[in-house]
Structure formats: structure tokens, C-alpha cells
């Protein structure tokens, strides 16, 4: 039976059982994974085929999923859970499928050569540095979703992800890692990646000295992305509005006028760009913060019944095994006001250029405080003067948002909770804490 026939037959069977709210999903995918560790190399190929069904009504429901083909005549369980409502079909919106979705997956030799090239470039950039572990994954998938409310959606994805762990110094005294994703593995640039690892290793040595300092602080995209990801409770979900309202100043702003934050499920060139979300609801652009003013949180259709906020197709399914969960798809800082990064660095008279963030952060929205582990350089008159490691960026959450003085043009996305995008940010009003003070 064809996949579309499997799906519609399943809905017919469930409807015949009196289950008015029913949804069926099938997913197929394939991928290649190349993994290189100390003395080992693993090349994997996988193909997946799974399905998921949830059905019920205003009294109860069930959720079942499994591998292989969807069997419409499967022995469906009795609904024994919470009531369920499913979305109605959204009005059709234009969608042009990116032409690189169907490019072939990275080959074994090609993928291993990429890891080898990064290793060689890293040794050239920083003699003594070594790649401890590298994993390259390249995969594509196709999902079909139908429901009894008229939703019919087909979603294709194509993602390549790269994880690199590197060390430098005696006994691996300095260690760092990067994790990034692109549409195709062929877009990873070994020299640029090696340079980034070398920069991070250069500031990842054990911390020296203690103290607190203020100044102008330049946050590289990797640090800005981490900040935005930690601020998601302010931007996503029904509680976000309440949290954001506590940060409003007299002019009603929650952030500097330079800050505009957008989520867009169909962002051109975006890694997860799709016409519909994990429930088949049409995706769209949603402005969350505009020129420092909070516009609305990111809400799924069932989180905003009749309120002022416009819901978006933002329910994501990690796999066919998972239920849809609202969250960002491509959530990013708009860089229409951006300036060249070199210019931003020149503006720093005395301060810091923070390029990396790893380790646990603490964000307290009740107390309006945060602490984020960071590493980078001290900067004097626009020049890096000394590495800063084992430090933390600290201050108020509102102070960070309102202290953004300028943005770079270098908007970069990283796979976190969805794709989070941020350019270099110039911020004032925060502290850099070094060592144990």
C-alpha cells in the first residue's frame, strides 16, 4: 500500500471506531555517520521507517507508534488518557522546496577526508593541538501527516551535523568542543573550523587570577547564541509574557532598541525550513521582540485560543517516537542594523571579547540574575591583550537585554533547542568574574 493510502485508510478505520480526532504520521529517513575517536573509526549507515498515531476525542485518547509500515487494521488500543484536540487545516501558503534537499549524502571517503583535513589544519593553526573526537552525520527524511480535521502535510528535511572535540597542552590541559549543523556536509570548511577550534583552545587553559571587572563586552555569536537559548522562557510559551512584563521599563521596552528577535519556521536557507510543523500547521514568521518592545511569545495553535497573540506552526517532533512539543525552529536576532564586526572591536576601549561558552549556566528569572561560563580575551584600545579563561559573565537578565549597544552583521545559527541565531553583540552593564571571588 502506498504511504498516502496507508495514512488515509488509517484515519477511516479510526473514524469508524468513533474517534473523531485522529492523526496519523509516517516517517522515512536515511543517514550516514562517520565517527573517529582515539584508535577507532566507525562508519554507519541507517535507514528508518516509523509511524505514529494519536486519536481520541473530548473524553480520552491514545498514542501509539512503531517501526515498519503503518498497518491501518492494527489492533488499536482503547483510549484511556486525556482528551485530545487536533488542529484544523491551515490556509495553503506558497512553498518552494529548496533544491538541495535531494543532494546525495556524504560518501565514506569524503566524510573521513573532511575529519582528516580538520585535524591537519588544526595542527597547522596551533602546533600541539589535536582532534580527540570527531563525528559527522548526514541525513535526510520525509514525513507525512494527516488528520481528521483536514490537515495533509508533507515535510522534508536534510541536515548534516558535525561534532568536534579538541585538546591542547600537556595532559589535555585545554579542551574545547564545537557542534554545528548545515544542510549539507559539503558546506563545512575545514580551515575555518580549525581556526575556530584553535581560538577556543587558546583561551581554554586553566584560569589564572581572580577578580571582577566591567567594561564594554563583545560577545561572539557562540556566546550570544547561548544567551538567547537560555532566555527562551522569556520568548516561548504561555508564561513568557508574564516573565517579559517584569523587565519592561518606563517606555514599555524589555530590551535595547537594537534588539529584534524573530522565529521563522520557513526561514529561507534555514536548516529546518518547512511549510508545516510537526502537527501539520502552516509555519510563518513571528516577531517576538521588535526594536526592544515585546510583541508576543511564540505559541502553538492550542496555546493561544482567541487571545491577542497570533499562534504559529511551531510544534516540533524530535522523531516519530515523540509527541509534538512547541518550541523555536529558527529563532534569531535580526541584523538589519548590523555593522562590520571589525568596527565593533575597534570601539572597545577597555573590555572583553568573549568567544566561547561551555559548562552549566544559571539563569534566575525571579531574581533577574544570570551567570554564564565564558572564555575570551581582555581588550584594550580595540586589541586583544590577554586570554581570559574559566571566567563567567554575570549581571541582570534585563541589564543584558537593555545593554545591547550594537550588533554585528555576522548572524550565525547553532543547533540548540531548534536553530538559534545571533550575531556578535556589543554589550555594557555586565561583569566578567574571573576565578573564585
Amino acid at each position: 500500500m502506498k504511504r498516502s493510502a496507508e495514512l488515509s485508510k488509517t484515519l477511516d478505520v479510526l473514524r469508524a471506531r468513533g474517534l473523531d480526532e485522529a492523526e496519523a504520521l509516517t516517517k522515512t529517513g536515511r543517514g550516514r555517520r562517520l565517527e573517529r575517536g582515539p584508535d577507532t573509526e566507525v562508519v554507519s549507515f541507517h535507514e528508518e521507517r516509523g509511524w505514529a498515531v494519536r486519536a481520541g476525542g473530548d473524553r480520552s485518547s491514545f498514542f501509539v507508534c512503531g517501526t515498519g509500515a503503518l498497518d491501518p487494521e492494527a489492533p488499536w488500543p482503547e483510549p484511556n488518557g486525556l482528551p485530545i484536540r487536533l488542529p484544523k487545516a491551515s490556509p495553503a501558503t506558497a512553498w518552494n522546496e529548496p533544491d538541495d534537499f535531494d543532494a546525495p549524502l556524504v560518501g565514506e571517503r569524503e566524510g573521513l577526508r573532511l575529519l582528516t583535513s580538520i585535524e591537519e589544519e588544526l595542527a597547522r593553526e596551533l602546533p600541539g593541538a589535536r582532534l580527540i573526537y570527531g563525528v559527522l552525520e548526514d541525513g535526510s527524511s520525509e514525513t507525512g501527516i494527516v488528520n481528521t480535521k483536514g490537515v495533509v502535510a508533507r515535510i522534508k528535511t536534510r541536515v548534516a551535523a558535525l561534532r568536534l572535540d579538541a585538546a591542547f597542552g600537556r595532559g589535555g590541559a585545554a579542551r574545547t568542543a564545537i557542534y554545528l549543523a548545515e544542510r549539507e556536509a559539503r558546506r563545512f570548511r575545514p580551515r575555518a573550523l580549525a581556526r575556530r577550534l584553535a581560538d577556543q583552545l587558546a583561551v581554554a587553559a586553566p584560569p589564572a587570577g581572580e577578580g571582577r571587572d566591567r567594561g564594554e563586552i563583545l560577545l561572539a555569536p557562540a556566546v550570544g547564541q547561548r544567551m538567547i537559548a537560555e532566555l527562551l522562557p522569556l520568548l516561548v510559551g504561555p508564561r513568557a509574557g508574564d516573565l517579559a512584563s517584569r523587565l519592561r521599563d518606563r517606555r514599555g521596552r524589555v530590551a535595547s532598541e537594537h534588539l529584534t528577535v524573530i522565529d521563522d519556521g520557513r526561514l529561507a536557507g534555514g536548516l529546518f525550513a518547512a511549510p508545516a510543523d510537526g502537527e501539520g500547521v502552516a509555519t510563518r514568521e513571528t516577531v517576538l521582540i521588535e526594536g526592544g518592545a515585546f510583541r508576543q511569545p511564540l505559541l502553538a495553535w492550542w496555546q493561544a485560543p482567541g487571545g491577542e497573540a497570533r499562534p504559529a506552526g511551531c510544534s516540533r517532533r524530535a522523531s516519530w517516537r515523540d509527541l509534538p512539543k512547541p518550541g523555536p525552529t529558527h529563532l534569531y536576532v535580526d541584523v538589519r542594523d548590523g555593522v562590520p564586526v571589525g568596527g565593533l572591536l575597534e570601539e572597545v576601549r577597555r573590555g572583553y571579547y568573549l568567544i566561547d561558552s561551555s559548562g552549566p549556566a544559571s539563569f534566575d528569572f525571579e531574581e533577574d540574575r544570570f551567570s554564564l561560563p565564558v572564555a575570551g580575551f581582555a581588550v584594550h584600545a580595540g586589541r586583544a591583550t590577554a586570554p581570559v579563561s574559566g571566567a563567567s559573565l554575570e549581571g541582570g537578565i534585563g541589564a543584558f537585554l537593555k545593554g545591547i549597544q550594537a550588533l554585528g552583521r555576522d548572524l550565525t545559527f547553532a543547533p540548540m533547542e531548534g536553530m538559534i541565531g545571533c550575531p556578535t553583540l556589543l554589550v555594557t552593564g555586565l561583569e566578567v568574574k574571573k576565578g573564585k571571588t
Binding site: E35, G37, P38, D39, T40, E41, V42, V43, S44, F45, H46, E47, E48, R49, G50, R54, G56, D58, S60, S61, F62, F63, V64, C65, G66, T67, G68, A69, P75, W76, P77, E78, P79, N80, G81, L82, P83, I84, R85, L86, P87, E108, I132, Y133, A167, G171, G172, A173, R175, P238, E279, A300, W302, Q303, P305, S315, R321, L323, P324, K325
Partner: protein, 446 residues
């Protein structure tokens, strides 16, 4: 058993077709997984809606992976579903031959899934837990997610003699207004309800306690906390792939890693009933493996890939997160042999220190040996007893210094500290049997 009708000899004959070199090790891994999930019994925020968990969720998977290992290299092909055509395709992929090559399609009879699963014991559990909490004269909101996990595996090599294995256990994740808690059980009996209720009430009673000031001193770890510490500081530290990040894994054998009181084993055969194993996830017989004998490294954890290149490493500790990933050396059931001291004696030697009943999670940096253990709450030890609670804090330090500081072992070894280990993104259940442990010179930070 879903794989009891599988013709293992036919599978082995098919695997023999792709072994070209003397040291080639082809292997087939079949798995059947079932997870039944009971979500928190809380209504959706704004009425019923999409995105909310709809009652008992059932996840069922069948699949397999073929692997060809040659020295330190391996090729793996995994499929969802178990069918002869998929098997032949996967054989071609691991053999890395053109699609025109013809490989046999062995018959792969797998027993069908039974009807929808029953889970009465799970449905009754939340109210039993609430009752047990109320008998302690407290009440608080909690969101309990309970899952039942069943896993059947069958591994076939060129020698198809390995029998299938079965695991069945429960996991729970509890969301509380002041933090989360998670653990694993093999049964939902009265003892399980009682232990979980005690832990949750302990978290409730310490919710407003202030973290301690940073200090260096003595801590007494209850079995559950000791198990988490040993999992991070001994088991992960002695995995062959982790050791390889700093040099040759066999070089660790004979190194003094901790106090001579420490005798630590990994023994999947002594794990609780329901998760006890006789072979690992590579079909290799397990052994009672001495990780530390009197504080000295004896037998690091290894799978076939690491053991094949070494005389000092023994296979039998290969574990897989699933068919889509290759096996790697991991512990299954960690055992710290008990000492002779009573809990009173251990506390008496820890004046001014902390008694730690639970540890949330740990982290180890394998290269530097730096270690961190998160503690949700503890009790200050005064006059030989655990008194007032202190809030969240961390034990930090280097593994060797921490383990060298062990100066007391209780006689009360018991099953404790079971949980999920997610090293490298591969989530695996881990089990332990531990006594109470006392360590001096420990650095505590709020």
C-alpha cells in the same frame, strides 16, 4: 522471546559471506523494544489540546544492525523492521560492495507483537505514591512520568551459539516545584513506593535550606550517592575508550587510583532480577570484572573492538544505546564491596562534614581527571548525627585525590543509585550495589 524461532545458523552463514580477512568480525544484532509511558496526571494548561501527552503512550520497535569489524575500524548498517530484503541490503552496505552484488536473504521469522500492552501496575502507582507521601504527614504537587521498558536482543556471530537476552524495568521522572528527580526500578513493589516517597519527602523538607559555604572537609555518602560517585569516578574513568583519550588503555592496569579500601566490580550477572545478564550487547559472555582491587586498577571496561588489540583488556562490557549506534565499553551493574563500619561509626568520624543521601548527576573530564558531583541537599553532621539540612551544593576535585580520601566503608551494601547514563548521547540504564562511604578532604562548593 520474539527471536526464539530465528535460524541463527542461517544468519551466521550469511555473515560468513562478508568476512574477507582473518581478523574480520561480522555480527548481527536484532532488537525488540517496547516502552509504555504513563504521563503526569495533570490537565493541559488550557483545556485539552495538541502537544499534550494523551494517556498511556506505547512505543514499539523492531530492528537490526549488521556490523563488520576489522582492527580498529568498523562498518555498521541499521534498519527499522526485520525483513530478509533489508538484511541483504545491509549486508551489501557493511561489505561496501556495489548494489549489484547478490547476498543471501535468510528467513528471519520474528514472533508478532501481542495485542495492546496492559499496564495496570503502572496505572495504580501514582495513587500508591501519593498515599505513601501522605503517611509522612506532608503533601506537595508533583508531576510523575512513569515508563516501563522492555528490551529483547539477539546477537549472532560466525559462531551462532549466544542465546537471546531480555531486560524489563521501570523509570520514573518526577517534576517538583523545587527541582526534578529521576530513578529506575525493576519492580513496582511496596519497597519501591516507600523508597521513592522517602526521597521525595527529603527533597521537600530541604527545599528552603541554604547551600553550605565553600569548605574542605569530610562527607559521608549514603549508598545512592556513593553509587553515582563511583559510576562517574571509577566506571567512566576506566572505560577503554575514555582511557584511550590519554594514551594506551592497558597502561592503566596496575595504577593506584584510590584508597586501598576500594574494591569495585562491574558484574552484570549480579544485577537486580529483570536486568541480570549473561552476555553483553555483543553476545560476549559477561564476567565478574574487578575494576579496582584494593584501590588499584585491575580490569578496565572493554568491548571486543578494544580487547582485540590488547592482552590486558577483556571483552564482555560492550553496550549499545540501540541498533543505530556501535557498541562501546560501559558498566552495567557496579558493585562496591562493603566494609565493616556501622553508619554511626562513619558519622562519628565526620564531625562538621555533610551527610549526603542523594546525588543528582556527575561529570568527569577524562583528560584532566576533574570531577564534579551535584548534590540536591545534604545534612550537617554534628555530634555524630546528621542534623539540619543544607541546600544544593557540588563536590568538586580530581578523581585520584577524591578516591584517595576514602577512609570508611559501611557494612550496609544494598541496591541503590540506579539511573540513566547518557555518555556520548547514548542513554543506557545503569545499576549499582553500594554501602555507605566516607571521604575526607573533599572540596564542597555552593
Amino acid at each position: 522471546m520474539p527471536f526464539s524461532d530465528l535460524d541463527r545458523a542461517a544468519v551466521a552463514r550469511a555473515l560468513a559471506q562478508i568476512a574477507q580477512h582473518e581478523d574480520d568480525r561480522p555480527e548481527a544484532y536484532f532488537e525488540r523494544l517496547e516502552e509504555v509511558e504513563l504521563p503526569p496526571d495533570t490537565p493541559p494548561a488550557r483545556g485539552a489540546g495538541g502537544g499534550q501527552v494523551p494517556g498511556l503512550a506505547v512505543r514499539r520497535e523492531d530492528g537490526f544492525a549488521l556490523r563488520l569489524s576489522r582492527g580498529g575500524r568498523s562498518w555498521l548498517a541499521a534498519r527499522d523492521g526485520i525483513e530478509p530484503r533489508l538484511f541483504a541490503e545491509a549486508l551489501r552496505q557493511v561489505a561496501r560492495v556495489l548494489p549489484t552484488a547478490v547476498y543471501p536473504e535468510p528467513q528471519l521469522p520474528v514472533r508478532p507483537w501481542p495485542g495492546p500492552p496492559r499496564a495496570e501496575e503502572m496505572l495504580a502507582f501514582p495513587s500508591r505514591l501519593q498515599r505513601a507521601i501522605r503517611t509522612r504527614h506532608v503533601a506537595f504537587p508533583l508531576g510523575l512520568t512513569l515508563r516501563r521498558h522492555r528490551r529483547h536482543i539477539q546477537v549472532v556471530h560466525l559462531d551462532p551459539s549466544a542465546e537471546g537476552e531480555r531486560e524489563s524495568f521501570y523509570s520514573c521522572a518526577v517534576e517538583l516545584p523545587w527541582g526534578g528527580y529521576g530513578t529506575l526500578f525493576t519492580e513496582l513493589d511496596e519497597g519501591t513506593v516507600d523508597r521513592l516517597a522517602s526521597t521525595l519527602v527529603g527533597l521537600f523538607r530541604s527545599r528552603h535550606a541554604l547551600p553550605p559555604e565553600a569548605f574542605q572537609g569530610t562527607v559521608v555518602l549514603a549508598p545512592a550517592a556513593a553509587a553515582v560517585l563511583l559510576h562517574e569516578a571509577v566506571a567512566h574513568a576506566l572505560e577503554a575508550d575514555v582511557l584511550a583519550q590519554g594514551g594506551k588503555p592497558d597502561a592503566a592496569v596496575g595504577v593506584e587510583l584510590g584508597s586501598s579500601l576500594l574494591n569495585v566490580l562491574d558484574d552484570p550477572g549480579a544485577a537486580p532480577k529483570g536486568v541480570r545478564r549473561s552476555t553483553d550487547d555483543e553476545g560476549v559472555p559477561i564476567c565478574r570484572r574487578w575494576l579496582l582491587r584494593a584501590g588499584v586498577v585491575a580490569e578496565p571496561l572493554a568491548d571486543t573492538s578494544w580487547a582485540s588489540g590488547s592482552d590486558a583488556l577483556i571483552a564482555g562490557a560492550g553496550r549499545r544505546g540501540g541498533r543505530h549506534s556501535a557498541p562501546s565499553p560501559r558498566s552495567s551493574h557496579l558493585e562496591l564491596l562493603p566494609g565493616t563500619q556501622s553508619i554511626e561509626e562513619l558519622l562519628a568520624g565526620a564531625e562538621g562534614g555533610l551527610y549526603i543521601a542523594e546525588a543528582r548527576r556527575g561529570a568527569l573530564d577524562p583528560e584532566s581527571g576533574r570531577f564534579e558531583l551535584e548534590v540536591p541537599y545534604a545534612r550537617r553532621i554534628r555530634g555524630g548525627i546528621a542534623t539540619d539540612p543544607v541546600g544544593r551544593c557540588r563536590i568538586i576535585g580530581r578523581v585520584a585525590e577524591l578516591l584517595a580520601g576514602v577512609n570508611g566503608l559501611g557494612s550496609d551494601a544494598r541496591a541503590a543509585g540506579a539511573g540513566w547514563c547518557a555518555k556520548g548521547g547514548r542513554k543506557l540504564p545503569v545499576w549499582a550495589t553500594c554501602p555507605t562511604l566516607r571521604i575526607e578532604g573533599v572540596e564542597i562548593e555552593p
